[in-house]
Symmetry: C2
C-alpha cells in the first residue's frame, strides 16, 4: 500500500488540511486548526471504512497511528490521544490522530463538528513540525 498522491485527496480534506508528506502506508495531513495537533492519515485504498481494510493494510495504518500517538506524547506532552475513523462527511477513508489536553477548546468532547478557535499554523511552525517528524520516517511527496 503506497500513500496516495495529494492530487487524489477529497476536496474537503484538501481544503481543511496541510499536507505534511507520506508516513508509512499513508498520506499524512495536519488539520488547519492549530489549537491542537490534529493529524489525519489517508491510506491509498478504495475501502470506505477502517473495518473494511484487509488485515495487513489495517495493521499498517494503525502502526502509523501508533507512531503518531507516541510522537504526540513524547514531543508535545499530550496526556491523551484520540483516534477516530468516521467518514460520515468525507467518504475517502481517513484516520484522525489528535493530541488532547483537559484545557483544550472542547475537552472532554470530541473535536469533530465543534466550534474551534480558528488558529493557523505558520509556515515556520509547519516546517518545524515536519522536521520533528523526520525520525518517524516522514517522506516528502514526489
Amino acid at each position: 500500500m503506497s500513500a496516495p498522491a495529494a492530487a487524489s485527496l477529497h476536496p474537503r480534506l484538501a481544503a481543511d488540511t496541510h499536507t505534511l508528506g507520506a508516513l508509512g502506508s499513508a498520506l499524512l495531513l495536519l488539520h488547519r486548526e492549530a489549537a491542537l495537533h490534529w493529524f489525519i492519515l489517508v491510506p491509498d485504498t478504495d475501502c470506505a471504512d477502517l473495518t473494511d481494510l484487509p488485515p495487513a493494510e489495517r495493521y499498517a495504518l494503525l502502526d502509523d497511528a501508533a507512531a503518531l500517538g507516541r510522537f504526540l506524547k513524547a514531543e508535545f506532552a499530550y496526556p491523551k490521544v484520540n483516534v477516530g475513523a468516521l467518514g460520515n462527511v468525507v467518504p475517502q477513508l481517513h484516520l484522525h490522530v489528535i493530541g488532547r489536553r483537559p484545557e483544550d477548546f472542547c475537552w472532554p468532547d470530541p473535536v469533530w463538528g465543534r466550534p474551534s478557535p480558528g488558529l493557523s499554523w505558520s509556515g515556520e511552525a509547519l516546517q518545524a513540525l515536519i522536521a520533528r517528524l523526520g525520525p518517524l520516517g516522514l517522506r516528502a511527496l514526489s
Copy 2:
C-alpha cells in the same frame, strides 16, 4: 490478552452498556441507546490509549473491531461504520464500533456527547443479538 472480567469495568462504562460477552481479545459491550448498534470493545490492558497498545494487542483489538464492522454491514445493512478510541471521560481503554446511517439521530455528526432518543434494548432483542454474534466467536462470561 484475555477479556477483562465485567467486575473490572469502569463504573461509567458499566452503567451505560449491556455486557454481551467476550469477543476475541476483549469484552464486548453494547451501549444502552438502542437507536443504533453501538458496540464497545474493552481489552484487558493498563494502557490508556489505543496508540499505546503493543502491536499484537493493537492488531487483535482491531481484528475484533473489523469483525464487528463486517457484522454491522452484513446483518443490519449499515452503510457506514464509525470507529473511535477517545477516553476523554472514561480513562479505561475502550474502542467504539458504531453502525451509522444517513437517517440516524445525529448523522453526520459523531454520536458521542450528542442527545440521543433514549431507546432501550429489550431482553429479547439482546438475546437475539447475542445469538447472531455467535458465529463471530462471542463467548459467554464465566
